[in-house]
Amino acid sequence: MSKEPKLRHGRDKEPEDDDPMELRMVPVPGGDPLFMATCLVEEYARLGLDEEAILALFRQPIYQTHALYRGRGEAWVRELIRSVLARTGRLRVSVTVLHHIGGCDA
């Protein structure tokens, strides 16, 4: 007895490049999310942020970096931050602003 192919719901199908209805969500070939996340961590390490402060950039749901946190989990992000900080360290920077301007929301 032949088995009928199982029908798939539209939402379960992979996005396709030539589908105009899905253009905004079609992944573009090339690039590496892990490299992207590594670069971001390096950037903020270079600005002097520590592990917890950098993790907060990923944990906060209103920041777009949260997509990685949501997709891969906190343990993955934390491990990535640690590996980068172990390699590059973070810069300790002291800042002196000599002329403040009025208003806290200027």
Partner: protein, 436 residues
């Protein structure tokens, strides 16, 4: 049509008006590498300038997620396709001449938005309205202005967010591919497409700072500027029947607010001053009579654009000579970066990944003060560390860290901020604090 010199293209190009340049030009550098897409800049601008009736859809500052997103939708992909149709296979750079002061990125052999419009079409048209005509462009439909940045990063609503637009409709899988955030305001172009297209000559560049403004008295809302601006940063307001655009927060640039700047020096625009990720720096560059930038290597903007060549214009091939510059994201495939920022992208990424001492110091100066930093100085200290960095071509290089101090000065040449890189710090994770 007159010819003007566009240094970003490395050649003369056609433009509807002869050359006329301001004394100095408002310009800015955005470091894409640091942007986390928090949209604080977007909201700072919105809550200052576009919160009124008729402006609901307007976002003079927006941050879009590339390569998927755009505001209006697909603005850049559409215009790139139009240019390609106008000049099939010809939109290319000759990089042989790269590096010369007149041709820093090489020579663009293709057609700009001013050149791609058929000469024939211009001559046949009897009225200006028929041509629209001076600039290749398109008018986005209403739905294309919708929902900037919503679902550009995630195909569905995050579980822990409750937004009315979330709903429970059809959902797509969240993509796992690369992306970066592109921050956009009006580029206050040297050769603005909006200005070229306005049939009322209602758009002008201020001679004191090159800011491009729409005279609301003269504007009659024909929307030619909306059609012509390649970056789509001119927007129509139905309630006043005029077009509006980013004004570079010019009251702040003028330093005339007695509360914010009692000493009368320019301060940063709202979007820049609000930036959480410290990605933005703005300033003024001195413009010579021929439109070139006067040599000024202590000016942060000049230094990054002309000396280090680490910051590049957005889509220079459009031909408007935009005055917004971007440090390209280093994790993005090079072909994509070259299309977006021109052939200088490879050098820019390399120069950014392993910055010079001066550049590393300047990168720390981003967003540490509200005042515009007109000049900076590096005081050299001793070497305090080094780390290995990977260049885009896969080679490794050593980044040396020095105990340098960088000092920023305002437009009255008074010291505003002093910043010292002390040392790289390596911290033991919390759970291992007592493991020695």
């Amino acid at each position: 049509m007159p010819k003007v010199y566009n240094w970003q293209l490395g050649r003369e190009m056609l433009y509807p008006y002869p050359e006329s340049h301001p004394k100095r030009q408002f310009a800015f550098v955005f470091n894409i590498n640091r942007c986390i897409g928090c949209q604080t800049c977007t909201m700072a601008c919105k809550s200052t300038w576009t919160f009124s009736r008729g402006q609901e859809y307007m976002w003079w500052n927006n941050v879009e997620t590339k390569p998927y997103g755009g505001y209006p939708h697909f603005w850049d992909a559409k215009l790139l396709a139009m240019l390609e149709r106008a000049n099939p296979g010809g939109q290319a750079w000759n990089i042989g001449a790269q590096g010369n002061a007149q041709t820093p990125y090489g020579i663009f052999d293709g057609k700009t938005i001013f050149e791609a419009v058929s000469e024939e079409q211009n001559q046949e048209a009897e009225t200006f309205q028929e041509t629209s005509g001076r600039v290749l462009g398109y008018l986005p439909s209403d739905d294309e202005w919708d929902a900037p940045n919503i679902y550009e990063d995630t195909a569905r609503r995050p579980e822990n967010l409750h937004r009315r637009w979330g709903g429970e409709g059809a959902s797509l899988p969240a993509h796992q591919s690369w992306f970066f955030h592109l921050q956009r305001i009006c580029n206050h172009c040297t050769y603005p497409g909006c200005l070229a297209a306005c049939p009322r000559q209602a758009i002008y560049k201020r001679p004191e700072d090159g800011v491009v403004l729409i005279d609301q008295e003269r504007c009659r809302g024909y929307r030619k500027c909306v059609e012509a601006c390649p970056y789509k940063k001119s927007m129509y307001r139905g309630t006043t029947r005029t077009s509006e655009k980013c004004i570079a927060c010019y009251p702040r640039l003028e330093g005339k607010d007695s509360f914010l700047t009692p000493d009368g020096v320019p301060i940063e625009t709202r979007c820049m001053a609000a930036c959480v990720g410290k990605i933005r720096m703005q300033g003024f560059v001195k413009i010579a009579k021929d439109g070139t930038w006067e040599k000024d290597p202590d000016n942060p903007i000049y230094y990054m654009v002309k000396e280090e060549k680490v910051a590049l214009p957005l889509y220079p091939q459009f031909g408007t000579e935009p005055n917004g510059y971007y440090i390209p994201p280093r994790w993005v495939p090079m072909d994509y970066l070259i299309q977006m920022f021109g052939p200088g992208a490879e050098h820019a990424v390399e120069a950014y990944v392993c910055p010079s001492r001066r550049m590393l110091g300047l990168l720390q100066l981003f967003r540490v003060a509200q005042k515009i930093i007109a000049r900076f100085k590096l005081i050299e200290g001793k070497k305090v560390g080094e780390s290995e960095v990977a260049l885009p071509n896969g080679k490794k290089k050593t980044l040396e860290i020095f105990n340098d101090t960088v000092v920023g000065y305002d437009t009255k040449d008074r010291q505003v901020v002093q910043l010292t890189v002390e040392e790289p710090v390596f911290e033991r994770p919390k759970e291992h604090y007592n493991s020695i």
